[in-house]
């Protein structure tokens, strides 16, 4: 348990040398695949995700009866080589299914689905490398790809994770909230994934899968929401770069 040993409390530096409130390097590109309606490639530290959007297209029999609004479908495929050890994933992994559902619900909230009745917007995510904050990286990549596809949205959804040092209750006072956990930290610390809409504090996704003392939750959430705003600023820069290219007349 490297984080519970003395290193963090001595220097207040994490395993990869960051301080508690530092994000990892976040880079992204839009329109990476010209053949898709919209696409984006995003790296959060060593987590690498490709997202492609197809649609709005004819809905088919995805959700019969609804019809008045577009349906957002999410399909996540995690490459076998993405993790530390090669894994053969079951066809219907419950964790992946929950991530798909989370992302779909979040984006149905910001996309103007009423403009596209009886149609389907498919977000297809390919995880190339995993190093923590997978759900957050997927959400950020989806935001960029949807903007690239020109799907009307209220605002960005920006996501990141927040954790808390020391998973046991004895050193409650020494517990520090941490921003943007990597895989090693996710293994042993309680963490949550939070996503906010635009610059507001409106939380659209909040996923907490580990046990954590309720007293630490508020601090984690505050740090997470703050991190989302930093992420949003970075995404905004990426989108504006892309917008500048549109003005120059490039189509690809």
């Amino acid at each position: 348990m490297p984080l519970d040993t003395s290193t963090y409390s001595l220097a207040l530096l994490r395993l990869d040398g960051r301080r508690w409130n530092e994000l990892r390097r976040l880079t992204a590109q839009m329109r990476t695949q010209a053949s898709a309606d919209g696409s984006a490639y995003l790296e959060m530290g060593n987590t690498k995700v490709i997202c492609t959007v197809s649609g709005p297209s004819e809905g088919g029999a995805v959700r019969p009866g609804g019809g008045e609004e577009a349906v957002v479908g999410v399909d996540i495929s995690i490459a076998g080589f993405s993790g530390v050890e090669r894994k053969r994933r079951a066809r219907n992994d419950k964790r992946v299914a929950e991530m798909q559902n989370t992302i779909a619900t979040a984006f149905e909230g910001v996309i103007f689905t009423k403009l596209y009745p009886r149609s389907l917007i498919t977000l297809s995510l390919h995880v190339l490398a995993q190093d923590g904050s997978l759900l957050a990286a997927c959400i950020n990549a989806c935001t960029l790809a949807l903007i690239d596809a020109g799907v009307p949205m209220k605002d960005y959804i920006a996501a990141c994770t927040a954790g808390s040092t020391s998973s046991y209750s004895s050193n409650e006072e020494a517990a520090d909230p941490l921003l943007d956990l990597n895989a090693a930290e996710e293994q042993e610390l309680p963490f949550l994934t939070v996503a906010t809409v635009g610059e507001s504090d409106f939380v659209s996704v909040l996923v907490l899968e580990t046990r954590v003392q309720v007293g630490r939750l508020e601090g984690m959430l505050a740090v997470g929401v703050d991190g989302c705003k930093q992420v949003r600023a970075i995404l905004d820069g990426v989108v504006r770069t892309r917008g500048g290219k549109i003005l120059e007349g490039s189509t690809v």
Binding site: A34, S35, S57, E58, F112, I147, D148, G150, V151, P152, M153, K154, D155, Y156, G198, E199, D236, V239, R240, R242, G243, G244, I246, L247, G249, T251, V252
Partner: protein, 217 residues
């Protein structure tokens, strides 16, 4: 608002709803106007002489017309095509009845897949996928057509679009004398010349291969 911000991103404030009318690509939230897609901002003022001078006999509510409309242009679908002279990059798409040049990418017993390269006189930026079904290869004796005797991968084909097809393919036809293969390479790799309506010949080996040949002009 002296400063003009040229590009809007989703969620960007564009102004109060009392000052502008929402155009395409915008939405109203809390009686403010926001962008909902990425693209250049376009503000269109209503044409001033249009209203009252022409329609003196009608009583129309004049108030909303004086507001300028703010819209966000979507570059690929609508945008640049409007100001034709300046930007020649306006996307041209194959339409029904347009003549296209395409390269055969794959042949199957019932259809040939092609990549559309040229529409009319315009060379496309990208490629569009098309399909020539066996019944669309020629107009007569349709049931005797064999795809592999009509096309080979790599051939350049002149065809006409008969349908926009399904989501991924345009449906093309070569059922006319002037449509069909216009450039072909032999199995030996030499470019061939047409000798009849269904035959190409290799100038070096002298071997002939069957194709659906387009009538030369």
């Amino acid at each position: 608002m002296a400063q003009t911000i040229s590009v809007a991103v989703p969620g960007q404030l564009l102004g109060a709803a009392s000052e502008y009318l929402p155009g395409p690509g915008t939405h109203i939230h809390d009686s403010k106007l926001f962008a909902s897609i990425l693209g250049p901002i376009k503000t269109t003022s209503p044409p001033k002489p249009a209203g009252p001078q022409k329609r003196l006999t009608k009583i129309t509510p004049a108030a909303p017309a004086v507001l300028p409309t703010v819209s966000i242009e979507r570059d690929i679908s609508v945008g640049s095509g409007l100001d034709g002279s300046g930007k020649s990059k306006a996307e041209i798409l194959p339409e029904v009845n347009s003549t296209v040049l395409c390269r055969v990418t794959r042949i199957q017993p019932r259809q040939a897949s092609v990549a559309i390269l040229v529409v009319g006189e315009t060379v496309l930026d990208g490629e569009w996928q098309g399909l020539i079904r066996v019944q669309d290869v020629r107009a007569t004796e349709k049931d005797k057509v064999k795809i592999f005797e009509s096309f080979r991968p790599g051939d350049i084909v002149r065809a006409v679009v008969i349908s926009l097809g399904d989501q991924s393919n345009y449906y093309l036809s070569t059922a006319s004398n002037n449509l069909g293969v216009i450039m072909a390479t032999s199995e030996a790799g030499n470019s061939m010349y047409p000798v009849s309506w269904k035959e190409y010949r290799d100038p070096e080996t002298g071997a002939s291969e069957s194709r659906k040949v387009a009538k030369p002009f």
